[in-house]
């Protein structure tokens, strides 16, 4: 549920980057952090183990500036991808306004992707939310790897994208696709607050 402050005209939204372990969720946030001017971002918090895996979550507050007269702020979170961190994954999902599912394009990671996506559905349901109402986009990361190691976006669509969501090929480590993904989820999330939203409550 986006937080809207009508007095100071401020909107705050929570976006969670979800996906299997080492698919590049933290890389997305790090790239954003590195690109955005100092005054438009807050401190990036990473609760990581020494092996570079996210232990609990990464957190990055972003200031999008003024939209329709509202100062718009996004809080980007990642979840730990490893299967055994499901409890914390579920906690971070709480109150999410939108989800970016970061898939690992490597052929051998396909099962992990599918499993993580199913896990997302289960966790969202446990928060009492119908996944079909939750703004979501997909990102097919690591498309920079050699062809023979990865699946093409069309193949990944076939395997993961049965809801025909927007999907973006990406190389999160170096930037391609990161911006497009963030832009798409931002639009999805904000659309729910706009006059254009179909069937608003």
């Amino acid at each position: 549920m986006s937080l809207v402050n009508f007095t100071t005209r401020e909107i705050t939204c929570k976006i969670v980057y979800y996906g299997p372990g080492r698919s590049g969720k933290t890389s997305n946030l790090q790239y954003v952090y590195g690109q955005v001017p100092d005054d438009r971002r807050g401190r990036m918090v990473s609760l990581a183990t020494q092996t570079d895996r996210t232990l609990f979550f990464d957190f990055l507050p972003l200031d999008l500036g003024s939209i329709s007269g509202f100062t718009t702020k996004f809080q980007l979170y990642t979840v730990p991808g490893q299967v055994y961190y499901n409890a914390t994954r579920k906690l971070v999902l709480q109150g999410a306004d939108g989800v970016v599912f970061v898939a690992d394009s490597q052929m051998r990671q396909l099962d992990e992707n599918i499993e993580s996506l199913q896990n997302l559905h289960v966790n969202v349901l446990e928060h009492g939310i119908d996944i079909r109402t939750l703004p979501m986009v997909l990102q097919y990361n690591k498309q920079d790897l050699p062809r023979e190691l990865i699946l093409a976006p069309e193949e990944l669509d076939e395997a993961l994208n049965f809801r025909a969501l927007q999907a973006f090929p990406a190389d999160a480590l170096h930037g391609p696709g990161v911006f497009e993904t963030l832009k798409a989820i931002s639009a999805e999330v904000l659309r729910r607050l706009s006059a254009a939203a179909p069937g608003r409550r």
Partner: protein, 156 residues
């Protein structure tokens, strides 16, 4: 410098009173998802955004441990440091469940913070309006502005 930010005005009166009574350095009222609903005090004490994200995470994870142990909830968490203490506790209001993070120094004590926190919770309960329905917030053509914002964000 002391600052106040209040997203929903009904929180302000009880919040300011609580900070003064308990001699707290900083009090942050947040949603269980870690969004700041109101804060008052010396923000230099912590980075506000990350503190509330982390505070909400602590509450959520300790609540989860409680659940696994068959406890209804652990309620209040308190950590004492050398110079500062934090008090983290949930608060049920008609507006839903909220979480309150209190940062305090040695000029007060956890005992005093708890006494006044109970009053604060009662005051919040009384002041909270029921959940309100909201109309559209953004104009239908918000996407153009969003694109401009994001473009400037990424310096494109």
């Amino acid at each position: 410098m002391s600052t106040t930010t209040v997203v929903e005005s009904w929180t302000e009166g009880p919040l300011v009173r609580f900070v003064a009574q308990a001699s707290a350095r900083l009090v942050v009222v947040m949603t269980p998802a870690g969004q700041v609903l109101a804060q008052h005090g010396f923000t230099r004490a912590v980075d506000l955004m990350s503190a509330s994200a982390l505070g909400a995470a602590i509450m959520a994870s300790s609540g989860e441990i409680a659940k696994q142990m068959g406890e209804p909830s652990f309620g209040t968490l308190y950590h004492a440091g050398k110079k500062h203490g934090i008090h983290l506790a949930p608060c049920e209001t008609p507006r839903g469940r909220l979480i309150v993070l209190t940062v305090f120094g040695k000029e007060t004590s956890i005992g005093l913070v708890q006494v006044f926190f109970d009053e604060f919770v009662a005051a919040l309960k009384q002041a909270a309006p029921a959940r309100q329905q909201t109309g559209p917030v953004l104009a239908a053509d918000f996407e153009r502005e969003l694109n401009n914002s994001l473009a400037s964000l990424f310096r494109r």
